[in-house]
Subunit: 357 residues, 2 copies
């Protein structure tokens, strides 16, 4: 497969199509359930707004999988968009569980609902209300995702091929989040353990599963799907490595999160685990000191960054990303993957591995 | 319709069939996702156990709806059992939101997972872990419910008639819970407001919607369904009134909850709201004093109970339950409802309105 790709503009237009379906569906559902109710006044606007901020990465991969076997289709765009609502479910509830205050540069949904509770002057804990409300909207995103897929307009026999992949994705999401809750509470994992968790959770969830789901809906055969699975596994890992680099070195203006958020959260991300594995004796001492800090502020973020760069982990992770991206593109066989789909896949691989947010 | 009914033993056997389907499905899913994982060690047993404690009231109503139009069917039992998993989702997440420590006489799921976290000696907040884990298992119950229904074995065209009712139930559950969160934080509602919330949430959810769902799967016509809807609305209200009486006067050995739990939770339940409406001037003073107490302990529960009895609200609510039960039975037209289904409905109405737990 050559490096010539769908122009980024094409990907953006497709992403907007997916987002329009997801957003439109949620706007209608939110109006149906919450319009005219005092307790639903914020939900009518805030819940669709949350969807509107998405990048539709998972729908784009699902749609690329679809295009490996079928022509352009509005019904397939709707089916793919269901994955964006599944992602909204995961984000909203993860933010509650992790106590994350910011999402996409704005207050997280539970924070918005907590503030609103305060503004209403209601009795009881505003923080508790915010968390409960966000959990409920997460539940609704989960319900709406399945409903959008079922009502996408794809024929029942097509859908029947997609459900097992969709069910696996939903289950893996919860199972992976449970592993994450426990991981957070443990010591730094080994590089191998980390790769295992990463493959099961983010890697599969973001790239590989959506691709396989889309290919299944399109009725693609085993040979083509095997190539997509390999591509997806590699791009998924590269995506997560890049995400972890951004969690340490990313620009707040671009990521929408405070600088070094993952360090502040003491997240055992790939870049931290790799740095620990690559540290020499003196660096190991610095490492132990930083890990022992009671809280990670701006100054500690600066020290962490210097240490990670000094171990060579930042550069090495960049190499690992490029290696995986190259290997992924090589897994796409032009003899079995139609050109428009191959172009989409190449553009998506580039977006996942070069992206700055 | 006469009062001769399916013997309670028949209802129990049917309930066991529903529960076996729900429990078996969850046991398989839990083993599939959590067996062999250290973080899933408790989930493999505790999550199916949670299902095993259920009474399958909603599946029984759904199945009664089914039997209004179709003969006995294992696939229909599975489809009905999906509502038990939906109920598990609601219970688990409601207990987290309400901070309820007990469920069915045992520690709530979030409490079990919090204690387990402590026993493992893991770092981080055990309470927080328990809540997050329970929320995730709630999510999985929501997913598994839909999956059990989809994979019940009912033909796609039958399922297609049931989905709108199922979707409405799921959405109403979340919407009703949001209203509840806000209600808890407000002053005592009026009797009319309370009836409105009660109809929208528990009443519809427990009886009417499951009946309509089952009847839709069975392909019942509008006349029959209208009768079921009327029956369901009335029995649902009576069920909730009875539940509220038990929340104030129920025996802990039977309810599985501390005596006067609703009073301790300051729940504005039907019996409290009715007592407020029926109180004379002197009783209103006592009422205000009890409402103003900083905490409701054993002694206050005793005083609350005396006051409620003295206003006449306990007896009046008993009359309202009987009125609704009688009116509900009259809504079942023997000319359109087949005898086995009518027997089931009568037995269920009796169970909902005379039950002591």
């Amino acid at each position: 497969m050559t490096a010539t790709t769908t122009p980024a503009g094409g990907l953006d237009a497709l992403g907007r199509r997916c987002l329009a379906e997801a957003h439109g569906f949620v706007r209608e559902r939110a109006a149906e359930h919450f319009a005219g109710r005092s307790e639903g006044a914020l939900a009518v606007t805030a819940v669709p707004e949350f969807v509107a901020g998405g990048k539709c990465l998972r729908p784009l991969f699902a749609y690329a999988g679809w295009r490996c076997g079928q022509p352009d289709s509005d019904a397939a765009v709707r089916a793919a968009a269901a994955l964006e609502l599944l992602h909204c479910f995961a984000l909203v509830q993860d933010d509650v569980m992790d106590g994350s205050e910011l999402r996409r540069g704005r207050p997280a949904l539970h924070v918005r609902f907590a503030r609103w509770h305060e503004e209403q002057g209601w009795a009881g804990s505003a923080a508790r209300f915010g968390e409960s409300a966000a959990t409920l909207f997460g539940d609704l995103f989960l319900v709406w995702s399945e409903q959008l897929l079922r009502e996408s307009g794809l024929a029942p026999d097509r859908l029947a091929r997609g459900w097992p992949h969709y069910d696996a994705m939903r289950a893996e999401l919860a199972v992976g989040q449970l592993a994450d809750l426990v991981n957070d509470a443990r010591a730094l994992p080994s590089w191998d353990t980390l790769l295992d968790v990463l493959r099961r959770k983010s890697g599969n969830y973001t790239v590989r599963r959506p691709l396989e789901f889309g290919a299944a809906l399109a009725g693609c055969g085993p040979e083509l799907t095997a190539g997509l699975s390999e591509f997806g596994g590699l791009v998924g890992e590269a995506f997560q490595f890049r995400d972890d680099l951004l969690g340490v070195f990313g620009d707040p203006a671009v990521t929408g999160k405070p600088a070094g958020q993952d360090l502040r959260d003491r997240k055992a991300s790939s870049v931290v685990v790799l740095a620990a594995a690559m540290a020499d004796r003196r660096q190991q001492t610095d490492f132990a000191e930083l890990i022992g800090l009671p809280a990670v502020g701006d100054e500690a973020v600066g020290r962490w960054r210097e240490l990670i760069v000094a171990t060579g982990a930042r550069d090495r992770l960049g190499e690992l990303i490029r290696e995986r991206a190259d290997k992924a593109l090589a897994a796409i066989d032009p003899a079995v993957v139609p050109q428009p789909a191959a172009d989409l896949l190449a553009a998506l691989a580039a977006r996942c591995t070069d992206r700055d947010r």
